[in-house]
Amino acid sequence: MPLFDSDFLKKLEYLSLISKRVFRGSLLAQRRTMQLGTGIEFADHREYTPGDDFRYLDWNLFARHNELLLKRFQEEEDLHVYFLLDCSRSMAFGEPSKFDFARQVVAALAYIALADLDRIAVTVFANDIVADFPLTRGKGRILALLKFLENLEAQGEDTNLERVATGFIHRDQRRGLVVVASDLYDPNGFERGIDLLRHRRYEPHVVQMYDKYEKEPPDLLGDVEMWDVESGNARKVTVTEKNLKQYKQLFDEFQTGVQNYCNRYQLGCTRTSTELKFDELILKMMRQAGSVR
């Protein structure tokens, strides 16, 4: 069964319409930049200094108060949205796999961004950057993006988000929103990679996904040979009830850690189980963004 079938495309269109009608593009695009410039939306006044463009002098104010003040406008610009998609082998775990789910989510968000005239780029990573879909604009590029995503395979050993972020920030590109779609199972910790993005004035949005069997591992009690699908290493262990309880506690702590980290730095954060449909997740994200505004 293809990952992106016609049904998927219909859902993308639907999500795009919803994002325009209900949230008026508030999710990603049409973001006001912090720069003031030649926009049409009034921002504030400042004193006139020689050399300023007379066209922006507020003559009404001058007439009333005999003061030369210059009108300032907020400049609007299109947003750059970067997707960092985790393709490590751990993402291939689960039914449906986290990787499939992540690709669907990335495709959906990218489609909405393209529909809002934003620019998007996709960077695929595992222990390092594996593949790139270059910065592009316009809805017409969606099929190319889908083809790119469809051709991807889960690969690579231990996830190394720091190395990936380092490679990403050293690129000559405009700042923008960085959507990190990953399970965040980085042996060295996901925080350092996100920190790098943050410090370089990117706006990271974390979409962390997990499988239901990762949260509640079945059939693990007793003597088992535990096989790490990411590294390929096997380990013989005896899992007791106590161990299982500890695991669940650690997993919950990890999830809470992700949320706390994002809250601390006011980063967008979406944690989800792959049991959820991708379109439901997008709607959930829209609702979260709406509530923020």
């Binding site: 775990f93 689960g94 199972y185 059939d219 088992v224 096989w227 699908v229 096997a234 262990v237």
Partner: protein, 636 residues
């Protein structure tokens, strides 16, 4: 240490599949996980001790093999050498008397007694032997000395409780004889399993106390049951009325064998279940005995039943006390047939006519003038004064003969004869007292050789026969040389009784009343030609000797109607408990008893139990330990 069942060691082969399964088990199940980040934290932070880690699987195998070894050892039934050398001889006396059917100990005392007996059997050690003596109704050895436990168990299981009286003293005497016969080596012990009711045990123990120490039997008394209140019929007898030929006197005795007042109940007396005779509401005080004699008249006969009942929702319901056997009592009343009697009395005799007419069984014909040439078939002929020269065949009564016959010649009158001698054992004179009865003008009589040697039933001071019995091949002749008109005999009650007895004897055995028997009793019977069986109330039969023969049947060990059956029923017996000792379900507290075979130390060989029992317990404990360790994942 030896093994009883060496072949059980073949079960050790089960170790092979255990090891195979163990080997299969250590090929662990492979479980994919998306990351080991969390597991690493769990396992690397608290590393298991490496030695234990290595041994964990081996310990698991060891525990399983140990479990198997324990079970196999238990199946092999090991025993110690001292168990083999110290042979025990146990004579088990089982009280299967009526009181053991008491239901205050569920389901019954007898079932509990069998449980205890089975426990003693189960505790027999190697080379131990046991015999079983039943003490109910009639003591008997139901299983000789043997060490074969299956035989002993089957004997106990098949031994029924009886409704008979307990004969513990006799049974213990039998057990003593068995012990002394086999007094070769080892320990001998008599184990009595009983409800300890009745005085027998106390007497036995008292007698044992008197004996020298060396001669005393090792007596262990295991008591089953608890004191239970009981109301029971302890007497139920019927006899013929002495004044009414179809009348009966019914004696009933009911006892409240309890330390408390009895509940309200009724005594119901019925004939053939459909003819009520008497209903008496009763409530007896502790230990009270209630007695009553009922009079009843019937010529039909049938089954007379006395029952203790309570008033239920739908009429009478049986009294629900601990013992049911004594709540019902039976008696058999024979049906009475009409007896043809011809009275020839020239001019008539008022006394004879009336006494015969008063007997409701008599079918009387009279002749007052000439002697009839023929008499009714099978009739008893009564001649007053005028007697044929040759007496007719059949049974004849002659009163005050005035002429000679072929059997006697008359002599002079005795002016004032007084009865001084009386044959008390004669059935003709049953309940008849003729002492000092004055008989004026009685006739002397001399019997001819044709009369043989007549029996002198009553005689005067001069030994003159006053009442004589001549036995002819063609019939009996009872001769009364008494002038009824001048004698005081007709005014005495002895006269109708004498006539009734004579008619009864002449009519033969038909209508004979056989008294109700108590359980444990026997009865003498004359069996006609043929083959017969004794049929018990439950339908089971016992073979009897081939007739014709006079034999003894019984002892009867169940209440109800017993019958001797051949081609047709020959005779029936009503059997009732009628035993105050068995109806009293309170144990004799003065007798030292032990509550169970376990407490008596008879159940096991090592520390009270056989070795295999401990091995089985150890196996279960080990299984529980393994389960616990497995659940904790200390072993796999």
């Amino acid at each position: 240490m030896f093994l009883t069942n060496v072949t059980a060691l073949w079960w050790v082969l089960l170790a092979v599949p255990v090891v195979i399964f163990y080997i299969l088990k250590i090929r662990l199940k492979r479980v994919p996980v998306s990351t080991v980040i969390f597991w690493r934290q769990i396992f690397d932070e608290k590393k298991p001790r490496s030695l234990w880690q290595k041994l964990r699987h081996l310990v698991s195998l060891f525990v399983q093999l140990l479990l198997l070894a324990l079970l196999v050892a238990a199946l092999a039934e090991p025993y110690f050498s001292w168990e083999a050398t110290s042979k025990r001889r146990i004579i088990l006396v089982l009280d299967n008397s009526a009181g053991m059917k008491s239901t205050e100990t569920a389901p019954t005392r007898w079932d509990k007694a069998k449980e205890e007996a089975a426990a003693v059997v189960q505790g027999l050690r190697f080379r131990d032997e046991m015999a079983i003596v039943a003490a109910g109704t009639q003591p008997r050895v139901v299983c000789g000395l043997t060490g074969h436990q299956k035989t002993l168990r089957e004997t106990i299981a098949a031994l029924p409780a009886t409704d008979g009286p307990g004969k513990l003293a006799d049974a213990i005497a039998v057990a003593r004889r068995l012990v002394s016969r086999e007094q070769a080596e080892g320990e001998s012990r008599i184990v009595v399993v009983t409800d300890a009711a009745g005085p027998d045990l106390a007497k036995v123990l008292a007698e044992e106390e008197k004996k020298p120490e060396a001669e005393r039997a090792k007596l262990t008394i295991i008591k089953v049951g608890a004191p239970a209140p009981n109301v029971g019929i302890t007497q139920f007898q019927v006899r013929r009325s002495t004044v009414d030929p179809i009348g009966y006197e019914i004696l009933v005795e009911i006892v409240n064998a309890s330390d408390a007042d009895s509940p309200e109940f009724r005594f119901e007396l019925t004939l053939n279940d459909d003819r009520p005779i008497d209903v008496v509401p009763l409530k007896l005080k502790p230990g009270e005995t209630w007695t009553k004699t009922n009079n009843y008249t019937t010529a039909d006969g049938g089954q007379l039943k006395g029952r203790l009942t309570v008033k239920g929702e739908k009429g009478s319901e049986p009294l629900a006390d601990a013992l049911a056997a004594d709540n019902t009592a039976l008696a058999l009343l024979p049906s009475r047939e009409k007896l043809p009697v011809h009275l020839h009395a020239p001019g008539g005799n008022h006394f004879l006519t009336k006494v015969l007419e008063a007997n409701s069984l008599v079918l009387l014909t009279l002749s007052k003038k000439e002697l009839p040439k023929e008499f009714p078939a099978g009739s008893i002929k009564v001649f007053h004064r005028e007697t044929p020269a040759k007496l007719p065949p059949g049974n004849v009564i002659v009163v005050d003969p005035q002429n000679d016959t072929d059997l006697w010649k008359l002599g002079n009158k005795i002016p004032l004869a007084i009865v001084t001698k009386q044959e008390k054992d004669s059935p003709f004179l049953l309940h008849v007292r003729l002492d000092n009865v004055i008989l004026p003008d009685a006739r002397q009589i001399a019997f001819t050789p044709a009369a043989g040697k007549p029996a002198l039933l009553a005689a005067s001071l001069q030994n003159e026969p006053l009442v004589s019995l001549i036995e002819r091949p063609e019939g009996k002749v009872l001769v009364l040389t008494v002038d009824l008109d001048r004698s005081e005999l007709p005014f005495r009650t002895a006269f109708p009784i004498l006539v009734m007895n004579a008619l009864g004897v002449f009519s033969g055995a038909s209508g004979e009343l056989r008294e109700a028997l108590a359980t444990g009793a026997t009865a003498d019977v004359n069996l006609p030609a043929g083959e017969f069986v004794l049929k018990a109330p439950d339908g089971s039969t016992r073979a009897l000797p081939k007739g014709p023969i006079q034999t003894t049947v019984g002892p009867f060990d169940a209440v109800g109607i017993w019958s001797i059956v051949g081609d047709k029923p020959v005779e029936e017996f009503a059997v009732n408990l009628m035993n105050k000792t068995e109806s009293d379900l309170r144990p004799d507290e003065s007798v030292p008893t032990i509550a169970s075979a376990q407490d008596a130390g008879l159940v096991g060989g090592f520390g009270g139990r056989p070795v295999w029992w401990y091995l089985t317990i150890a196996a279960f404990a080990l299984a529980a330990l393994e389960w616990y360790l497995y659940q904790r994942r200390w072993i796999s």
